[in-house]
Amino acid sequence: MGKRSGAKPAIVGLGELKPVRYTEGQTTLGMIAESVRLAALDAGIEKGQIDGLLVGPQVGETPQHVPATVSEYLGLEPRMSNVVDLGGATGAGMLWRAQAAINAGMCETVVCVLANTHEKGKVSRSPNRNPIREFDVPFGASGANTSYALLKQRHMEEYGSTQEQFALIAHWARKNAQLHPDAIFYRKPASVDDVLASPLIVDPLHLYEIVMPVGGGAAVIVTSNERIIDANKHPPVYCLGAGEKVTHRAVSQAPALEAAPLSYAIAHALGQARLKVEEMNLLSLYDCYTSVVGTTLENAGLCPPGKFGEWMKHHSFGHDGDFPLNTHGGQLGFGQADLAGGMSHIIEAVRQLRGEAYGRQIKRARYALVTGNGATLSEATALVLGGEA
């Protein structure tokens, strides 16, 4: 019977693989293992100290028994393990669940890991045999690009938002990526005009408004073990609040944009942390598409619904700006390693709160808002991370 350990659960380890356009000769399991190894090194722990494991679904390699397969591969014997299946919100959802499992006495030290290969020319088609497959796909509406284009069009029509306003989000992502040598778009900035000149993939979405799929992986270790926290070479980072909401799967069944599930999740996370969104020193907002950042700024209450474009005109979003936003470049600048892409927002937030975001460090970074978004504004998780317990 595990007794609850004394310390408040803290994030003590980060592992991140540099995103690559295409992987070669790699397996997802191998990349998971490498991400976990890096996180354990960062945390200063041995593998035997890990007693909790959270993994994501894997469409291709391991559709079932994922925790057992990963445990076997790594030689782990967790006393708590599970799959978290929240699309782009999986990483954030894992962190909250890791903390809850620790607080419930299920385990003490949890590794949360997501990774995937991305091989050239290999397209894995969804094995869905469910309503979205039956009632959306046969009309020519396959894939996330089309779904998010529908949501962006709705925003533009309902609120009068403009292509330039959305393009500015992609511009900032690329600009911030210039300070992150691992980013896929490092040394590839893009102006607003460049974004608007990129091809329309699914109108109204331009190519540069859409994340680039890459291969990569990320792992985060959370522990309540005081010895591990005390011996850690990095200052601990805590999850001060969290919130989550799931509403629908298919975009045709989505609620109104201003009632998107992130509006609930963000408010809940800030409420738990007893902080206001204006007190956040970093906005680490999930950005599979420009339009998601726009609606997230609105869902977070930084501006009224429909007004993100006007609001952004008056602020600056670099690490030295008044509202640092996705200082790692976001996924639009860093690349999206499938589900691990969502984890990049957590990793950057922890680096900033540790004071280790070299070359792009936010001054006096105390609090960060992290969001995760899965399916089409369907699965939403928000975290407030802080460097002070």
């Binding site: 309503p131 020519g140 509406a141 993939i201 109108d203 298919a250 045709s252």
Partner: protein, 139 residues
């Protein structure tokens, strides 16, 4: 205009025992939607319980085929390669007169001016030998 879909070999619906009456009716040129006998609300897509009140008393009823446009997009690069043959094309989310929303394919020119609320009507269209519930703009 609708002929271009006849030989299009795109993924068709993955019909289930619950949804079969919907597709069977379409093949008879009828558009039926489930309605809850308890709360009277209409339900789409087909289910075996009402998502509003959890009643399992659902009945197939004739729907009007009238709808309004909620949002749309012009697909230049389809998510499934088989659709490329008819790209660019317009997909849309429509709100049926009866209440529920559904995804559909709009039979309009990509240059046509559209607005939220544009009135639409059902236009059954043969795709790969199956009647699909596409919509067009009301003249």
């Amino acid at each position: 205009m609708e002929d271009k879909f006849i030989d299009l070999t795109v993924p068709g619906p993955t019909i289930t025992p619950v949804s079969k009456p919907f597709w069977d009716a379409l093949s008879q040129d009828e558009f039926v939607v489930q309605r809850c006998l308890d709360c009277t609300r209409w339900v789409f897509y087909p289910r075996n319980l009402c998502p509003h009140c959890w009643s399992n008393q659902l009945e197939w009823q004739q729907a009007s085929g009238k709808a309004r446009l909620k949002t749309w997009s012009i697909v230049h690069r389809p998510g499934h390669p088989a659709w490329q043959a008819v790209a660019p094309y317009v997909v849309a989310i429509v709100e049926l007169e009866e209440g529920p929303s559904m995804m559909t394919h709009l039979l309009v020119d990509v240059k046509q001016k559209l607005d939220i609320g544009t009135p639409l009507e059902l236009c059954l269209t043969k795709v790969n030998d199956r009647n699909m519930p596409f919509f067009r703009v009301v003249d």
